[in-house]
Structures are given as C-alpha cells and as structure tokens.
Symmetry: C2
Subunit: 479 residues, 2 copies
C-alpha cells in the first residue's frame, strides 16, 4: 500500500482552526445531534449527556475524552497478508466506487447486475494501486434484495484476496458480514484481534443518525471492526452553502458518531469520514470535482489530524455522464487534493461516474491511471551524487543530447512513470493506429484486464463453508 511521505498541504490558519473549533462546540451544545436509536440514547444518558426526545446535547469535553480512546492508527487484515492495510499516519488505502445502481460500459448505460459486480471486483483485484474492491461496487439488481449482501460479501471474499467493506443496509446484514469474516479468518477472536472489514456509517445530514445505520454501527463496533463515521454533505442541501459552516457541521457529525462508537466499545477503530461536495444552485443537481469540494477536502485532512484521527475522503468523483474530458479533470480535481491532504482511506477511487449513480468500466481504468500517476508524483525525490548526474554533463557537453548517455542507459527503464492509458503517439502513428481516443483505449484495457484475471487461491473447505452460509442464510431470509 501507499505511504505518502510528501508534505501535507494545509490551508487553514491557526485562527481559522480556532473559529471552527468554537463552531462545533456550539452546535453540539446548543443544537445537539439526533440519534434515531434507543440503545444509543441509553448509552448517552448513562454517560451523563443531556437527552431530549431523540436529540442529544453533548458536552464537547466529554466527546474529546471518548475520541481520545480511539486508536490513531490500526491494521486491517486481508486473507492474503501481502494485502494487509494500515489505516492512519502516512498510509493511504484505496477502494473502488461504492453504491451505484447503474453501470456504463462503452455507449451502454443500464441497471447493474451481479455479473457486473463480479467483473468490477476482478478489476479491483487486478490493479495493485487498489487496496480493496470496496463494498457495494455496484448494486446487483438481478439478485434478491434481502440476501444480496451475502452474494456481494461472498464475491468480495473469493474473487479478491484484499480487504473488503461490510454491508450496512441493516443490522442483520452487518451481522452476516461479520459471521462470514469469522469463517474466512478463523473465528471471532481472530477478527476482533485484527479487523477484516471497514464499514461505512453515513450520517443523515444535517445532524441526524438513522436507526438502521446505527444498528450496523453497533454490530461492527461491538466486533471491533472499523467504521467510517461519515457526514454526507452536499453543501446547499444537507448543510449551509458556506464551506466553513459545512466544515463545522462535518466535525459535529463525525465526532458525535465517533463518540457513540467509543461508548459501544471503548478503543474500537474508527475513521473520521467526509463526503463533502455541493449542489448546483440553479438546478439543485449534485456536483463533483468542484473547487469547493477540493477546498473542503484539504481542510478536512487538517481537521481530522488535529483530533488525532485517521480520515476518509476523496476519490475520483465527477458529475460527467461519460469518461470524457470533464470526467478526467473532475476526477483529478478530487484525487490530487486527496493526495495533498493525505487521506487515509479513500473510497470511490475507481469507477465513479455520473455523480455516483453509475459504475463505469472505462472510468475505472482512467482512475487507476490517475492513482498510478499520483503515487509517482507523491514519491519524494532522491537527491544524491548519482541523481545530480554531473558525469552525464561531462559526457554530453553543451547542446548535445542525453539519450545515449551512460547515466541514461543505467536508468531509462525505471526513471519515469510509464503510462497504461495515456498516449504520446505522434499524429501520424496515432492516426495509423485508428485514431482511438482515451475512452476507446480504456475499453481495450478493461477487456484485456478481465481476460488476464486470475482468481486468488482459497482453501476449498473455507470456500465451501462460506457458500453454505450464503445458501442457509438466503433461505432463512426468505429469498
């Protein structure tokens, strides 16, 4: 996995940080946060927090005490230890797009299927820049709704040997995900010792946590599985239209969720979540890869670090319908700040299209290229006698060229990033080769990658036990 040893780009002054700090303290104290869950309210009451109806008015100092119990960094184990992930510090881990009900494949946009889910999962397995296929890579609409989480988890566990995300639609789904993790990793104690999944707990912003998400939070935190407490904010709709207000709200929501997680199981691993963009104020449409989301991302990193928490943000976001120029620059307008801010857990890193409604096969390839480029770009320079190349100047002299210099010959294979997708063919060659634009090349690459895919080996007894679990639970769930 990637270690980001470059400096963080921080844009908030000390004074700005102090104002944001005052802001969230006032919100939790005076407006409070709604928790649509009796067990949650009971925990807050028992801890001496003021509860009125479903609204909890939190003491900021109490929250900070709870948050301090969360680990600053932690590991998540994959069934192939080479793919274990470390969350926090300089580590950055990347998962594919999460949640789209539709897919785009070339010119066709349609409902996503289980076959699509499996193909995206195989793509995620194939590229080393991705640490995870994620969770709901796309909604497999052709599988029964109540047992779909079993099919997805089984696919993630068997088609990849990387970490995966847990299902959060209901508490029951979460318990099934945990049970399947126990099967794959050898029991409850093993997964409590080193967790095996990361799960996304979204806030119903503004300032409200819904019942089913909280059921999943209880399940995962009890089992010591990491959760990403994520304010889901499109500024202008789920938060005020000003970025500072959105940041204050985001702190309030994330910290309130993290506080609850620590009440459920002190010391359980959590991630400060952020999903922050804005709407188009003329149409009301969500927009992605915007300047405002870039600023929000940079600020979020700085804020999460100030609380000593690993954070989730970023991805290859775009509003574009197709893998065109807009998709290219919007994805990078999110991904480059993702690296600048050093996000620790990056969802939606590959395949996001059409505001997250679509998982795009071509877009997946584009995003992998961007991740590869950014890994190269965020690798510190090595400056030493050899890299200063004085000898090469002695050899080449004034006005010459370095193509054949010894210094070049020794380094030419590895000196520069070698693109997978980008073309630098000249016009004549590009035309001779069919004038294929980037989108056309993405299609070729994703087909070739799927052809070359090899399923990672898995103990047959374990696989069979997982398959039996899926069959049994599907029957129990009535599907």
């Amino acid at each position: 996995m990637f270690q980001n040893k470059m400096p963080r780009y921080e844009i908030l002054s000390e004074d700005a940080m102090a104002q944001l700090d005052k802001g969230w303290r006032r919100l939790v104290t005076e407006i409070g946060v709604e928790f649509d869950s009796e067990p949650a309210l009971e925990l807050f009451r028992a801890a001496g927090q003021k509860v009125e109806g479903q609204t909890v008015f939190l003491d900021p100092e109490f929250m900070l005490e709870q948050i301090a119990k969360a680990p600053r960094e932690f590991d998540v184990q994959a069934r192939n230890p080479a793919n274990n992930v470390h969350i926090g510090g300089d580590s950055m881990a990347f998962g594919a797009v999460y949640g789209p009900p539709f897919v785009r494949e070339g010119p066709v946009r349609r409902d996503a299927t289980m076959d699509d889910f499996e193909r995206f999962t195989k793509l995620a397995q194939s590229f080393s820049v991705l640490d995870s296929a994620g969770g709901v890579v796309c909604e497999p609409n052709d599988t029964p709704l109540d047992s779909r989480h079993l099919d997805m988890t089984y696919a993630l566990q068997t088609l990849t040997d990387k970490i995966y995300m847990g299902n959060v639609v209901t508490g029951v789904n979460a318990q099934d995900t945990i049970a399947m993790g126990e099967i794959l990793f050898g029991g409850r104690a093993a997964i409590e010792q080193t967790p095996v999944s990361i799960s996304l707990i979204n806030c119903n912003s503004p300032l409200r946590w819904d019942e089913r998400m909280l059921e999943s939070l209880f399940a995962y935190s009890s089992a010591n599985q990491p959760v990403v407490l994520t304010p889901f904010i499109l500024m202008g709709a789920m938060s005020p239209v000003t970025i500072p207000a959105a940041l204050v709200q985001q702190i309030t929501e994330a910290l309130s969720g993290i506080t609850l997680a620590q009440l459920i199981r002190p010391g359980c691993p959590v991630i400060f979540g952020s999903f922050l963009s804005n709407i188009d104020m003329q149409s009301g449409s969500p927009t992605f890869g915007t300047p405002e989301s870039g600023i929000g991302l940079l600020c979020t990193g700085q804020i999460a670090r100030s609380f000593g928490l690993p954070f989730r943000s970023g991805g290859g976001l775009t509003s574009s319908q197709v893998p065109d120029a807009q998709a290219g620059y919007e994805a990078l307008m999110t991904l480059l700040p993702t690296f600048l801010s050093g996000a620790n857990w990056v969802m939606h890193s590959a395949g996001w299209l059409e505001g997250g409604l679509v998982a795009g096969f071509e877009k997946f390839i584009m995003d992998v290229e961007l991740l590869q480029m950014l890994r190269a770009e965020f690798t510190p320079l090595e400056i030493d006698e050899g890299s200063l190349a004085f000898d090469a100047h002695q050899e080449v002299g004034h006005g010459g060229h370095f193509l054949g210099a010894m210094h070049t010959m020794e380094r030419f294979r590895t000196c520069f990033y070698r693109p997978m997708l980008s073309s630098s063919e000249n016009y004549e060659r590009w035309t001779r080769n069919g004038s294929v634009d980037a989108a056309g090349r993405m299609t070729k690459i994703f087909h070739k990658t799927l052809e070359d895919y090899e399923q990672p080996p898995l103990d047959e007894a374990v696989r069979a036990e997982l398959a039996e679990y899926v069959v049994r639970r599907r029957a129990e769930l009535g599907d």
Copy 2:
C-alpha cells in the same frame, strides 16, 4: 489579474535545496555555459569571467551579484489599464498557448492560418482569466515568413487590449516588436518606464544559448522589456533522466541567461523560466502532464523564490491528440501544481494540444474552465460569524434541508463556482439534450464566444500608424 493568497506547496527540504545549490555552482564553474554570441562573450570577458571559445565559466558569486540587480516584482502595461499585469509576488498572470504550427477544430487537424491566429486572439480577449493572448498563439502559415511577426503583433495589439508577447525569431523581429510597442504606447521613454511586452528567450538545452535568441535578448533587455530566460528541458533528451539533475541544469541555464540580461542592462526585468517535462523512454516522444513534470514544477517555484526571482512555468499541457479524458487530466496535472507553486507568468494556459504542436479551439475552452475553477479553489476561505451559519442550523434543525433557508437565499447566487463547460445534468435531461459530451460542448462555447466578441476600441490614428508600419516594414523585408 489573479492574486494567489493560498500557501505555496514546497516539497524540497533545506538539505535538498543545499544539494541543488552545490550542483549548479559546480556546473557553471566546471562545465560552463556556451553563448553563441560575440557581444555576449565580450560582456562576460569585460566582467572578468573566464571565456574559452564560446564557453563561459562563471563565478557563482558574480552571478548572484548580477541577479540581485533584477527587480523582484514589476509591472507590464496593457493599452487598457484595467488589464495591466503585475509580475511577481502573489500575482499569477496567464497567457494562451504559444508556438503550434497546427490547429485542431472539432475533428479537423490542419495547418494554422492567420484567420486561426485572429480567432484564438479574440478568444483570449474574451475571457477574463487570461491576461494575454500570448505571442505566437499559432503559426499563421499562410502569411509570408519574414514579415509574419508584424501581422501577429498587429493582431495582438488591435484585437486585444491586454499585454502581449514579443517576437524572438530574430533580433530584427524583436526590434520591430519594440517599435510597434513604441507606436501603441507613445514612444520609447514610455515603454522603458513601464514595459509593454514579455518575451520568451529559450535556452538550447543543455547549457547553450543560440545566436538568434541572444539577439532578441539584447534587443528586449536594452529596451527594458521583460524576458523569460527559459531552459527548454525534456528530461532524458535535453537533460539527464533524473529530476534533481534537471533542476540543477535548469538553475544553471536560467541564472546564466539572467546574468547576461543584467550585464546588458542592469536592473532590467527578467523572469526565471522553466519548461520542464520528460520524454517517453520507449518511444522518445515528449510527454506532458506527467508526474515528473508536476514534481519539477513544484520544485521550480521553491527554487526561483530562493533567488528572489519571479518565475514562469506550468500551463494546460497534454500529449493528447484530442480534447478527451487524457487531455482533461493531463492539463489539470500541470495546472493544479501551477497554482500550488504560485507561478507568476504562465504560458500555454489555454489551447495546448498534442504536445504543443496543435492549438485546439475546443481545448482552449476546457483550459479556461480549469483556470476559472482553480481561481475559485485558490481563494482563501472567509471564516466569520456569517459563514459559520449557526442561524441556519437553528432554522433547519435535524435531518432537514437548507435549500430554502434564509442563509442560503442570501448567498445562493455567488456561493459556488458556476461552471461554463462542466455539466451536472441528470441522465434523462442530458440524453434529451442530445447526449453531448464535454468536447461537443466546448465546440458550442467557442463558437458562441467568437460570435459575441467585440473588438476593444483603439484610437484610429494609432491604429493607422501601426498598419502603416506593418506595410512599410513588410516591403523593406522583401515580402
């Protein structure tokens, strides 16, 4: 023009800076720099520098003394004072693409013409994010070669009221550009007091300055017109393959040129130039928007600032043939670091395509969108009582939405960047509107912009004098 009040992103440690410093000192002392110009060699000799043949071995301390004479910041006047440009400090000024012999318009790629030149110039005039159309926006191949510079300068002076770049093909061309500046701005004293053009003096890297470029340098520096002393480096060809070596060479070349400029006219305005990318080591093709060029750009800013010099770098560079996804992400992979490093003078900011061989009408629009987005992104947050929006939370409550909140109503028109090109239409609406991708929308926007173009007013006597100058000089030059 844009003031970048955000922090600079600097990635070189003190130790790294010290090693680069040693590197350029060794290069100028032991390898030296070639100047293919007797007047230049004479100046160096007179100043006590060691000259052997055309190679000058420079004393680093002597160079630093000369460089210290250059202004840290300076103004360039436009014929519309509202378009005056400040070079240096937090100021960032942007010019269009420079030099392409070809143009691309939709599916057609062909030789550039004077009509293309004029249309690009009009586009540059039309967008406020561009401070200049630049100079050779494209090569007008249908005009006579020896007097082409007159046509270009006339077009830049009359179709825009922004600053423009001087022609540098020969010393004669430079003198003509200066003479036309004198006509437009009221004489030699006026343009010496506040310069009116910026000119690009490229090094024939590695470590060699050619005769004709130096003729232009003599002409412009003598007239106190700013010059951009630019190492032209594609790593692997014109420099060693390692970035640190390229940086050391870049310092050596830029500072040697700047030293000469200060010998020509002490105190004349100069810009530390950088054009730094790499070649594909498999094909030998130049590549742009690469991770290596991004790193180089960030380092260049830090280095130029350490010498107290304004610097030129960046742009919307790409190797792509067409305005596709690759063009989108490569352009931004250059432009975002351009803002992170706070480049003071940014050439190739709009229209660059196909490694600089092509000026693209569609690409021009894409780049303007990126510049607009980045200006928004690099505007510091205002954090105050109003932007924290506590009252909006009181109004909306838990789980509500802010679309109709008073705080939103007061701000919705200006709160977010409003895209010119990017679409956030939903699928149904996008399909109903013809499924036009970003490239298709760029075509519509560039046509509309040209339709709406209005020529800025110019005193008829001045215009006539410029036209007469062109006619007279064309005849004298034998075209």
